[in-house]
Symmetry: C2
């Protein structure tokens, strides 16, 4: 149950067994049903989640319409960093796309960890840097790529996502209409 998170953390900082136990004492396991929300717009996000299995999606509601921001799969961390860092109400909804198990750690606990085990500062720094990279890539994609390029790059770089995520969410994530995505897919498959 904790092998994956241990491996993930140890890729970044090496923890002694005692330190890892100290870390674990701050965590809790949460099981989510498909479609279950773990964060809603207006709530303050007070935790970060490590995905043991399953997947999460975050989206905004804009005039009643869902705008998908990103997808996260097993062995990765996610939080609404904006709300988490500022303690401001979130603008996001975060839902489980399938049966999902997460390991949760609260912001307060992470702050304690920074004091008790200072090398966690390094861990948190790298997490923040990764969050930044992910978001920058997403922003660049929307700003600089045509819908077809966006889809082709996604197929190339994140094939797992194409297999596991419903097409309407992928369309929303790519910032294109579901009908346009269907057209793009037909064009690609007809040419291949």
């Amino acid at each position: 149950m904790y092998q994956q998170i241990k491996h993930q953390i140890n890729q970044i900082i090496s923890l002694t067994d005692t330190e890892f136990e100290q870390f674990l004492a701050f965590t809790e396991i949460r099981k989510l049903k498909k479609k279950e929300l773990i964060l809603r717009e207006g709530e303050i996000c007070r935790a970060a989640w490590f995905i043991n299995y399953g997947s999460l999606r975050y989206f905004y509601l804009v005039n009643g319409e869902e705008h998908t921001g990103q997808f996260f799969f097993e062995n990765s961390w996610f939080t609404d960093f904006n709300s988490f860092l500022s303690s401001q109400p979130s603008k996001l909804y975060v839902e489980a796309l399938e049966k999902t198990e997460i390991i949760l750690i609260s912001r307060a606990s992470i702050e304690k960890l920074h004091t008790q085990i200072p090398k966690f500062e390094r861990f948190s720094r790298l997490m923040a840097e990764n969050a930044f990279k992910g978001l920058r890539n997403k922003t660049e994609m929307l700003a600089n790529q045509s819908p077809e390029e966006r889809y082709l790059n996604l197929v190339k770089e994140r094939p797992k996502l194409i297999q596991r995520v419903a097409q309407r969410y992928i369309a929303s994530y790519l910032g294109i209409k579901p009908q346009s995505l269907s057209r793009i897919r037909r064009r690609i498959f007809d040419n291949s």
Copy 2:
């Protein structure tokens, strides 16, 4: 010359005078002329810059057209984090919008600082978190606000930017055509 950067860093971590001297030994001052580029697409960004005075803008070139990403003013840090973190070629151009003085520190030096003065991990963590927050706000703005809302929020939240930056760059930053921005401005001023 170093009062501002000292103040900025000490807001985040307290450095002794010796530690601050140790930090300064890694830095160098660079003066930029208006329009001078400090980073071009294809180059690897190997430094972070603190702005003593003046301002920077970063942009992408998409089919020969500039897409402005963000503006930075005195007392703030900037780097192309994506290229800086991954040592991959940058996709950005960074230019001085006016006569600008920066304090430069290389990535290699920052890594040495993390080892020599571990509390710099905390500094870098907070810088990464801030970079993330800035980018998330930008992304949310483009995804969820109408052009008029974008401009009104900018006027409210960053009035200095409106005064100091040419309107064509502001339009590009807001993701709207210069003519649309002129129309929006006329509408606002006619109603006020």
